[in-house]
Symmetry: D2
Subunit: 343 residues, 4 copies
């Protein structure tokens, strides 16, 4: 059940949360951006709740992903450090797959920033298919990321792999990444829900749109409204690509959810020569940003070299992304209303 | 084996074809666009062929889809009536899923044309999942398409469903469409290979990039070099969409083949509210055009209403497509070389 | 609409077909096996039809695949020559992927028969991914199949690839095979519907259960009730197998359709060392038979060698299949009723 | 690198582990069942290791899943309490999806046992798609499982969802289950590797055979050789089933790995009426056992009712499973050698 209340209806808020607690139901809320608050309760409360002072409306026939849905609020934005995702300007996250060393990372971060990146990505805890592969530098890598932030001013996003790491990673990073393999690791999602840091939630290899948004709902229902979705390719039967970037999900999500969504054309193709075009396609599909693997020497990157581009390539992509985004904004202003009406 | 010969090397050409015939091997050729001709032979010939007068080079380690590959020639264009596909300007094919009636079709064609369409699409022979569903108007529908061409000047593309229909459909249409369900109907592909009309080859629901191009190769190897590919969505496990438009295939094809490729965001999503964004994404991915289902009253279309948009919506999409295409062209001129070099 | 009539209600039958014809609706019928006839009409007729003399009942809320469904009749059997498929004893179809030559085929047929095969399979018209690959011996191959039948007494099943070949192939073969790539080649299905020969319909690589049965419905609605389904593997993202044999479809089909269904563990795995176990699994899942690629020298077979087993391996599989089938029959007699009741 | 040593070569063993430690490489070992020990090292050691006293052989060209592979040892068995999985007799795990209450569970356990179950399954920590759904009774549920073991003597298997729960769950359960959604939750796998309890590893919805075995390798490389694999259905595009049980994986795994593998026809179909046949098919494919959801009143089960069968249905399945297993064993004895030789 969704209950919209006036921002200052403190007593009613308390009462509602109490009613939820009595039923052992989860309760979470989100600022609607229009001067009110939307509360999601995990179970239907007595409909009399509608008559409480300050209650603006109740919604009962909402999507299963209640607080993540457009039933809860209009398009939301998420701030990562001082970078805002979802405000109309594409945000570029870039960096190496794995953090390799302090000085290398700082140099890479500067190159990525010069190429147009606003958020630094890089893995300290690395989920690797083989137990014998390099598993990341761990906390040492987190410190290197913090140093790179210090050196560039860019906020950093990095992966967290288990509930117990959330506090540790939150101590260094500006945004927590939940990887594809953990999209339905519900205990990790709950722990991220209890963090104050925004979360980048990557879609599972074969997750449906509904499952993807239910995972976002987990984080939000446990207290953290700052979720950014990331499409990163699904598994299909075509060996021409490591994964197939599924851009349907971008307008598909935006038709039902207020959450920002970005696109990762590096994992979504697995081939560096396709990153450029699929980055442009992602933005044209309506994505709020991109996550791209960049390394000054892709062939010698510690991991994922085949899908990693150079800072130089990134610079050109970013320039085209912004040109494309601007022309889409210009043409949207006059036309979108008409389109929607006549669609 | 690919053998490139000078355009005027008639005797050598005859000799090569004779050698192929002696081995019961298919032989087909394509104009390279650079003053020479590329001949594909289905089996390796004696390497001495390289020394024949007028032979420029032989290629033996080519892709399995030899004549469709970049080993055979650089990016090709295909003319449909006087509309050229593949020359840098996106081509818009639009029209109803099914031809419904003569006057209705002419009216629809005019609306589509006014909205920016250059090629009229519409089904006379309709592949329907149920034997009890409307199967199309058949030859009568072909005549209606011809009438709509007469009335608008737009060339028409329509589906052909069996080898024996190729001649009939070629008598009315400007381009033959091979539907997804028939992408690996090899006898149909052979018959299209013997036609003088260009062919629009739609990708099968679960076809790989290699299988898609091998089907194009069938048409080309049997004599028809004028093939345009069409991505129209693959089947995945996500019930949120009828199909998932797979844009990886666009730059994926362009990395190995010279054939033009267009995108069908109507079938590729199954939902009309997603057509707009996925059309833009297709163009940003590098597609040479779009195929879109348009009907003045989608809810009452004879088939595929759920994924059909109005002419008004089409007009807005086309305007944005051209704006986007222009900005991509402008930024490409200076940057593409650098990108490729540094990717 | 399904209309069940008494077997001898000739006048009513004529009247119903007339009513269907007046509405341009397809009409087809099937013997129910219980002394009546079930007529399927492609459109709902006037409900007064129920009151016609000899009409036993009408069914309006049937599956979309009306005449293929259990709404039309109980489990059916299909005779191929004098071999009956669907009567409780697994039927073994075996033979080489491609017909290679007359004497070789006769020798192979004898070996397969000695190993327990009852129906000879082999391709004369071969759908090959590459236009440059061997495309089969064509009519010559059909003659070789007829010769092998002569020599062994085994009926033969072979693929038909286009509507125009149906008559030709029917002249030689005892059963027509529609390949996976043509499962939704509706014109071919219609032509098979007009043939008097039984049809083996192979499931498409990514066809759903509903699409599979709708393709059977095409054949039946066009006049041919003798359809046997064949599961042959679906495409998934796992490169460990060429295809993944989907045995869910066996009990899944049997829960809604009366048609016999067999399993092809050769194509369904793509690996000869897995054929044995997946053949057993198919029978345990409830399949009415198996189609297996067999060749005395698999490594030198003209096609599909990697998934082809020897006659010796076939002999052992067949022995285990029959042992397994018998024990299932014995335990079924007492238990199936209880199982169904308590499931 | 795999190094096989004599069981009593203590000094050499110590030396090898030291060499691995010096290179920061994982090292784990497994009893070969033939009087020796196989040690897997995460990195190649100096080949001189072969000359150490007691070293029987080294294997360098092993599969990526070294210690899980047949390169490490022949078919292994795993004991759960006093039930042995992998010794030729199918093992039946059964029980409710969710533990619902103490008395109910004990009653259900007794019914399952009477029907032929040897291991009790049931969820205390439940991974649910919605954060608002019942998440299981947690530790209370574990206590109920322990009580049910007490009452029946059956060992219990139950899911563990995060690394920190491993110790807790190990305190109550006889076998730890890693769910499909966590198959690539590598930190959880590592924690299970440090446990002394055997692990039931369920395959991810879209995991490849290689990824599945790499996840087993994680557990084994971190110290726990007692892994049982479980196929439980993959996601495909067919809405007729919740998942598609992929039985290819059974002989596929057995061709490369020594680990036991069981099959879950409940999740693998999502439909209770298909469980019976797919259980039989799983055993015929060669599975070492079955995991089946059973509840005395499936329609009122707390979760997964649609795929849950009654104890009565289970009893009949178990009876047929054993009949089938026996006939397979009898026919295998004489024939398997010949089959393998001629395959």
């Amino acid at each position: 059940m969704l209950i919209e209340i006036q921002a200052n209806a403190i007593a009613t808020r308390t009462r509602i949360l109490q009613m939820a607690a009595e039923q052992n139901a989860l309760a979470a809320s989100i600022d609607t951006g229009t001067g009110s608050e939307m509360i999601a309760i995990g179970t239907p409360l007595d409909p009399m709740v509608e008559s409480l002072s300050g209650v603006l409306r109740i919604v009962t026939n909402h999507k299963a992903f209640a607080i993540a849905s457009l039933d809860a609020r209009g398009k939301s934005t998420v701030a990562v450090g001082d970078v805002v995702i979802g405000n109309g300007t594409p945000v570029i996250m870039a960096g190496p797959c794995s953090v390799e060393g302090r000085d290398a990372l700082i140099a890479q971060a500067k190159l990525a920033q010069a190429a147009g990146a606003q958020i630094l990505r890089g893995g300290a805890f690395k989920p690797r298919t083989s137990p014998y592969s390099f598993q990341g530098h761990g906390e040492l890598g987190l410190q290197m990321l913090a140093d790179a932030r210090e050196a560039t001013g860019m906020p950093v996003v990095t992966e967290v792999m288990e509930p117990d790491q959330v506090e540790l990673v939150s101590g260094y990073a500006d945004m927590l990444q939940v990887g594809s393999r953990n999209m339905a690791n519900f205990n990790l999602l709950k722990a991220c829900g209890r963090s104050s840091k925004p979360v980048l939630l990557k879609r599972g290899f074969s997750a449906t749109l509904e499952e993807f948004l239910m995972s976002a709902e987990y984080i939000m229902a446990h207290g953290n409204p700052n979720v950014v979705l990331c499409e990163r390719g699904i598994r299909t039967g075509d060996t021409a690509f490591r994964f197939n970037l599924d851009l349907n999900i971008v307008p598909g999500v935006q038709a039902v959810s207020h959450l920002p969504i970005i696109v990762d054309p590096s994992h979504g193709t697995g081939r560096r020569e396709l990153v450029h075009r699929m980055a442009l396609a992602g933005i044209a599909a309506g994505a709020d940003g991109l996550a791209i693997e960049v390394h000054p020497d892709p062939d010698n990157a510690l991991s994922d070299g085949a899908q990693t581009i150079t800072p130089d390539a990134l610079r050109h992509i970013v320039r085209r992304v912004h040109a494309l985004s601007e022309v889409l904004a210009e043409t949207e202003i006059e036309e979108l209303g008409i389109l929607e009406a006549s669609a």
